[in-house]
Symmetry: C2
Subunit: 383 residues, 2 copies
Amino acid sequence: MQDKLTLMIPGPTPVPETVLLAMSRHPIGHRSADFQKIVKRTTAQLKWLHQTSGDVLALTGSGTAAMEAGIINVLSKGDRVLCGDNGKFGERWVKVAKAYGLDVQVIKADWGQPLDPEAFRAALEADTGKAIRAVIITHSETSTGVINDLKTITSHVRAHGTALTIADCVTSLGATNVPMDEWGLDVVGSGSQKGYMMPPGLAFVAMGERAWTAYERSDLPKFYLDLGKYRKSAAADSNPFTPAINLYFALEASLEIMQAEGLEAIFARHDRHRRATQAAMKAIGLPLYAAEGYGSPAITAVAPEGIDAEALRKKVKDRFDILLAGGQDHLKGKVFRIGHLGFVCDRDVITAVAAIEATLQELGLAKAAIGAGVGAAALELAR
Amino acid sequence: MQDKLTLMIPGPTPVPETVLLAMSRHPIGHRSADFQKIVKRTTAQLKWLHQTSGDVLALTGSGTAAMEAGIINVLSKGDRVLCGDNGKFGERWVKVAKAYGLDVQVIKADWGQPLDPEAFRAALEADTGKAIRAVIITHSETSTGVINDLKTITSHVRAHGTALTIADCVTSLGATNVPMDEWGLDVVGSGSQKGYMMPPGLAFVAMGERAWTAYERSDLPKFYLDLGKYRKSAAADSNPFTPAINLYFALEASLEIMQAEGLEAIFARHDRHRRATQAAMKAIGLPLYAAEGYGSPAITAVAPEGIDAEALRKKVKDRFDILLAGGQDHLKGKVFRIGHLGFVCDRDVITAVAAIEATLQELGLAKAAIGAGVGAAALELAR
């Protein structure tokens, strides 16, 4: 049905009406005092969201631009980096690091499995010559619905003494606790179409003091992604390049909504939706793809054995106007993914579960009594 | 007066209401068939706007991102490039080229003066060893309001045989004729907040066949700005990274308006506004900053001798809610700039002139009879 689509993908997430309407305001000049006020205010709110006293810089770009900026601003050609790879995004940061001539050491886990913090501890302890300059970790691996133990891995990086932690928090920030300063994260990348509940187009890089020290020696070429320019402009509540002004209007509106809800409530909501979605899928006999205990608070990947996941996903969209995400790369057709990130309420979760149940019935593929999924979700939502 | 501001700066330009409202639609999935339709349609329209059968790729970023992408995708470390520098943006491309370790040969002109095509001809003819790989030219130099003779300079590049032309058409595309294929331009960069009449956030890089050949040998590191990835995705009506979906909605709306007006009418309108603005400023005794005959169709820079340009500009904003642009770098306080680019009609031009005249009166700085500027503008607009 036209204009009735509900997004249950891992970004863009649903967007509040006030945020959408903020975007339709006429742009103002980006070198004006009025725009400086917006930059000043949103910068303070971004620090609150990141739980940091460091810098949080906004770029016009995607989450990949943020992560690339985070990597190339603190490293130099030939630097050794340790990359965690247990999905499509972990894999992508390996590619970025290699594109810039870094010496990449990869710690892998199978798709669906979490990265093993012990493997990081061992690799970092073995690096007695302190060659490892940075560790790149994806917190919530969007392709598999796995959440990695970023806190523990970061503690091992800190024990190493000199390596930095560069964290891809694109689908974890604003969904689960990412206390940047408390955990000792040096660089955190994120994107507007995720926990921020905004359309895509703004990306954020948070940089701690150790990251800025590394910036001083970084020799990788950059200009648009040169974070030093952003830091300098941010000191004057400005941007070095013409930013996506209307997305700043949206950012202002969305951060206000987030602050009104509060971090604890936001994290509790995402945790509740994770539990409800997981319980529902189990109740209707659809196995979860992520290893038990490692499901992301942002997204649940489901591997419906013996069922064409892509056909199911398409039917849910056609019949119920709910867009689920498909599997990526070799998971295409084998996995579908339910996004429960950003502007998602309990009603959305229970609706998505009901639509999946009803579709399985219609396709003659139901393995459980109709209502089992909704019932299981309702129980978790009520806890 | 709140929400009454009219932008007469060189970007963002005024934005049509239909474009603003298109932005407030709820985002759709960027991997959906519905989004592919938008990419397919806007790509065809972008080729029309660029007058090219080559590729026109959309990035989420600023015009600087587009130009950096254009430069780093066709060159390799140590390559000799010839850069034209007669203002802030020409200066910027020199900085980008140097940031990537290119061997930069600069052809300068004073701010306010055009680049001399003969200097390019001489440098290119002297390059018998064919070391020059590319010539980087800013078509409309936004900082000074000068339009460079891109057509003639490009003809000299073509005569060289192997060098490419990388053109910054950020404030010329959609304002004046830039027939990419006819002139033999290889790379053209532009940004959404200019002739496109959109808010900022999308940037465009057009690449001809010779540029793609150069891409194959380019060894400069890149990932988010790697145009090969965009070309591959564009073949499937998609983007390699999550694009600014809502800005695509705006792009669809704005390109439709542009096609309805037609290229010839768009160029004639900008030419009319250039003539009217120039004539009005002369009539009220405010000298133009750009050399006679080289004023940009997008922006007119005015150097009001003996008058604090910044004070005048601020007064025009406070009294009449019209935002003019100030002077950049060493021109701050010495120059103000009237943007007549994008969604600007005859009424806007005559209004801006009237506001400037009225402000000069109020400040006791008028050198001509009140109405002289409006009269001169009206005569040009009627031609």
